[in-house]
Amino acid sequence: MAYISAASTISHQPTFRNAGFSNVIQPLQQGSVLISPDYKSFIEAGLLRRMSKILRMSVACSKDCIAQAGIDQPDAIIVGTGLGCLLDTEKFLNNSMTIEGLLPPTSFIQSTHNTMAGQISLSIGNHGYNMTHTQNTLSFEHAVQDGMLLLNEGEEHILVGAADEHIEILDEISEKLKINFETGLTSAASFFILSNAKSEATLAKIRDVRTIGLVTDVSAQIKAFLAENKIGPDGLDLVLFSGKPQDSAEISYSENKNSPIDFTGFSGVYPTSSAFALHFAIDKMGNNKTLKHILICNALNKSNLGLTLIESVEA
């Protein structure tokens, strides 16, 4: 169990510093763009000038979370990312192919997946545990699991988040692979403070999170997960899903309540979009007190399954 003390998302929706957004946002249309805050309010100019989109989003969300939770420092910083710092990777590779002689170092230094966690640490002066998880579409769930393990070991507040950024070549690649996404590929970052105790800042609870690789029977996995958490057939108030788990019967638990929602219709498609879903679920619980238990079923990649069970503060 982890208590969520803060949540912050920058995405193609008006999510940043906008409590109640889940009630007003509309499904994304093709060609949507990232809605960025004024980053100068969060990041000093000397650092901002060399930060790519994914770094700006991550640092701004992290600082927003820390302010929301009213803490000085998290005990750890854990980031999940599916594809990492693509803009800097692309820039570095282009440089290496076109420049003869010395290569500019910045894009190389900032092309590694752990740059987000590192820049967050540098920006807030944090010397705690610093970890990056990258396991395709389950990167965020693994980051949450890591955070919950640390809470079990006695840490108080953990900054956990996820970020991915879109670059144009992803569209070309998906076209060549004949993969069509209705909402398009997007960029976003979502960060949270997970705490070991309830407080006035608590927004919701993560009761459990599980990842299953090379999944064969999605339905059985979900049923087992819910049974272990003592959630009966009527226990779920809402299911947020990605991918196509609705092809089988595993999300039928919510049939008598709210219709399952494909959250990628709101977030767009990126490997760690289940982090958007977590913020979406928390925000929905804040708006609607009848929502006690929400399941996030992340089947964006059909061979990976991520399950996150969220419980309201009141439950």
């Binding site: 100019a45 000397g46 901002l48 000038r49 060399r50 420049i99 002689g101 010395l102 290569l103 500019p104 170092p105 910045t106 230094i109």
Partner: protein, 87 residues
């Protein structure tokens, strides 16, 4: 006007992505690595080494030379002239 120093200021702004800074904001003698000047850091120092090779064909192989050359735009211009004169 010393065109080398003006060119250097433009190149520094572009290479280091110095947003909101124009060449006229950079004084010839202001310290590049001092908060009272541009407040550059160690990554910027590496970028300046790349800049000298990219725009002026000069390789900085002696770290002590670089330390002295990168004090200000003036010292960078002096260093470039000295190296080119040496060739």
């Amino acid at each position: 006007m010393d065109t080398l120093k003006e060119d250097l200021k433009k190149q520094i702004i572009e290479q280091l992505n110095l947003e909101d800074i124009t060449p006229s904001d950079i004084q010839d003698d202001s310290a590049l690595f001092d908060d009272a000047g541009l407040g550059l850091d160690s990554i910027d120092a590496l970028e300046l080494i790349v800049l000298l090779e990219k725009y002026h064909g000069i390789q900085v192989t002696n770290p002590d030379e670089g330390k002295e050359a990168f004090k200000s735009v003036q010292t960078m211009a002096d260093y470039i002239r000295k190296r080119k004169g040496d060739l």
